[in-house]
């Protein structure tokens, strides 16, 4: 087994795209550690821009202001998965519902996407990275050597989301409501013009509905090992 791991080059770009609730975050992190790779949480970048826009009272459709806000930003991912922007640790600040909403709004703006495209490619320079997001394999890293599209059925994703919210103490939404929200978001995600959520032509699709986290990671490792690089 040790030999098999050695054969995986140290500088691949592995992309993991998929809808919310498919288990992307945990699986990407665990896969990155198994490979000895870095983990690129691209959602956190959009959240950071969302945070800055909120703090600067920038409207989510004020492209000029957004472009100004993006100028000269320095992103640094920390070893524990945290994020610093211009030296400030924003890890705890970017997970609020307000920032989520703003992140979603600014991610629809081409100026922001264009800017973060370069940032993401910059952060991935040298390879050896697992990049998680929604357009990694299609737009940001079309040349990535390994692409996964992680999915799960609507029922499973809704249940996971419901459970996550509940365990965080948020009992405001019912399972039915969450299912409806996810279905709407699925439709928007796959039909929008700007970076629609879809698997890259060369992506391996994995359905995590019936699999445990570890099983998905093992499956990905197996697929990577079987490739000839």
């Amino acid at each position: 087994m040790a030999q098999a791991i050695k054969r995986i080059p140290p500088d691949l770009i592995v992309t993991i795209d998929g809808p919310a609730g498919a288990g992307k975050t945990t699986i990407s992190k665990l896969l990155a550690r198994q490979l000895g790779y870095r983990y690129l949480d691209t959602g956190a970048l959009y959240r950071a821009i969302g945070l800055l826009a909120l703090e600067g009272k920038t409207g989510p459709d004020d492209d000029q202001a957004l472009a100004g806000l993006c100028q000269g930003l320095e992103f640094e991912f920390l070893a524990d998965g945290g994020l610093k922007v211009n030296g400030r640790d924003v890890t705890g600040l970017i997970r609020t519902p307000e920032v989520s909403m703003m992140a979603s709004a600014v991610s629809a703006r081409p100026v922001v996407r264009r800017y973060l495209l370069d940032v993401q490619r910059d952060l991935a320079r040298g390879g050896g990275i697992v990049a998680e997001g929604r357009d990694m394999g299609t737009v940001v890293f079309p040349e990535a050597q390994v692409k996964f599209f992680l999915d799960a059925d609507l029922e499973t994703r809704a249940l996971r989301r419901y459970e996550q919210l509940r365990q965080r103490g948020d009992m405001s939404a019912s399972l039915e409501e969450i299912k409806r929200q996810i279905a709407v978001r699925d439709r928007n995600d796959s039909s929008r013009n700007l970076a629609p959520l879809r698997p890259a032509a060369d992506a391996v699709r994995i359905d995590s509905s019936a699999l445990g986290i570890r099983q998905v990671v093992d499956k990905m490792l197996r697929i990577i090992k079987e490739r000839n690089f």
């Binding site: 288990g23 975050t25 945990t26 992190k29 665990l30 550690r33 524990d80 998965g81 945290g82 890890t91 705890g92 997970r95 499973t156 249940l159 996971r160 419901y162 459970e163 996550q164 509940r166 365990q167 965080r168 103490g169 948020d170 009992m171 405001s172 399972l175 445990g212 986290i213 570890r214 099983q215």
Partner: protein, 374 residues
């Protein structure tokens, strides 16, 4: 043998767990008994967890991942925390032990609600500390009285939500106010072993408390809703500085590799969690109705167990139920002498309890006729 046992250890009343099924078989010759005494998951274990544990059986010659990386990473992602805020334990009671080892000595005190989970006092006393017991008010934790019991020697305040054995929850706003009035260096341990069963929306949102910049430790477990009590795995969520010191006294391989693998898979098994929760809520309602019909007093609960007040001496009811092959918990050691605590089981098991209770109560009501028949 001559042993010199420190007096604070000699003074500890040992924890008495629910009677295991095997013991009942030995003592009473009852073989098809049902155990409704330890708040376990009646549906068994998450199937995903079982499969994950099975597939880990190969590597048992190797030590587990001492840092518990994968599990900690997954828990951090679940709660949007940093991995450095998560500490895993051999059951959540392991974390109680760590807290006591780090923060308590023979000059310190803890404040515990009473009755509540008995291990809080036991770990405190094993570290030589005094446990100040604050009585419940209407079977719920009395935050105002808890606050009054805090003094300059207090190191830890234990809260349990839902409270074992009463099944009551704490109001979020009140806990926040309680925290704000507390001296800043007093640690608040919020034990949420049963949090996944809670139905009341106003109940404390523990993760919000972690944002207050206070020394708060949230304890959770895989023993209850995930059905992994036998594997022993629980976790604590807390500020980084606290996690850092707990990890210093944590045994490096405290969570075994099967438990780590199973817990990781269980965390993702929302289907099993939903099924368990639905069963518990449905059966709780059904049992309330059944007891209402019998005119027996009980206390509705936010957990997977509830208290039932016995119209006859509860110790005798408990013993008689044992002979009928139904194990419940008599609450004498919890200072609720008139109560038994029933853990919700499968519908058939709950029916067994009801039938046995009917039989036992009828017999106790007519002791003369029974002795004549004998």
């Amino acid at each position: 043998m001559k042993l010199s046992i420190p007096p604070h250890v000699a003074a500890i009343d040992p924890y008495v767990p629910g009677k295991p099924l095997e013991e009942l078989a030995r003592q009473y010759g009852v073989s098809d008994a049902v155990k409704l005494a330890s708040n376990e998951n009646p549906l068994g274990t998450s199937p995903k967890a079982l499969e994950a544990a099975r597939s880990r059986l190969e590597g048992l010659n190797r030590y587990p991942d001492g840092a518990g990386h994968d599990l900690i990473e997954a828990l951090a992602a679940r709660f949007d925390l940093r991995p450095s805020q998560v500490v895993i334990g051999n059951g959540s009671d392991d974390l109680l032990g760590m807290l006591a080892r780090v923060f308590l000595d023979d000059d310190s005190q803890v404040v515990v609600p009473h009755p509540s989970f008995l291990m809080y006092s036991i770990v405190a006393r094993s570290a030589g500390a005094a446990a100040v017991k604050v009585p419940l008010k209407d079977l719920a934790i009395d935050l105002a009285a808890m606050a009054r019991a805090v003094n300059e020697k207090t190191r830890i305040v234990f809260l349990c939500c839902p409270n074992n054995p009463t099944g009551t929850v704490l109001d979020h706003g009140r806990v926040e106010a309680f925290l704000n009035d507390l001296p800043e260096d007093v640690i608040v341990v919020l034990d949420e072993a049963y949090v996944e069963f809670v139905q009341a929306a106003e109940s404390v949102r523990s993760l919000k408390l972690l944002e207050l910049g206070r020394p708060v430790v949230v304890l959770r477990t895989f023993s209850k809703i995930y059905g992994l009590a036998g594997l022993r795995v629980g976790y604590g969520l807390m500020p980084e500085q606290l996690a850092e010191v707990l990890n210093r006294v944590r045994m490096p391989f405290n969570v075994n590799c099967l438990a780590q693998a199973a817990a990781l898979a269980a965390l993702d098994d929302s289907g099993f969690v939903a099924k368990t929760r639905a069963l518990i809520h449905r059966e709780l309602e059904r049992m309330y109705t059944a007891l209402d019909e019998r005119g027996i007093e009980y206390h509705p609960s936010q957990a997977n167990f509830f208290l039932i007040k016995m119209p006859y001496p509860a110790g005798r009811v408990f013993e008689a139920l044992l002979r009928e092959g139904v194990i419940v918990r008599w609450m004498k050691s919890y200072a609720l002498e008139d109560y038994i605590r029933l853990s919700i089981g499968l519908p058939g098991e709950n029916d067994r309890f009801l039938a046995a209770l009917d039989k036992v109560l009828e017999r106790l009501a007519e002791p003369c006729r029974r002795s004549r028949r004998k």
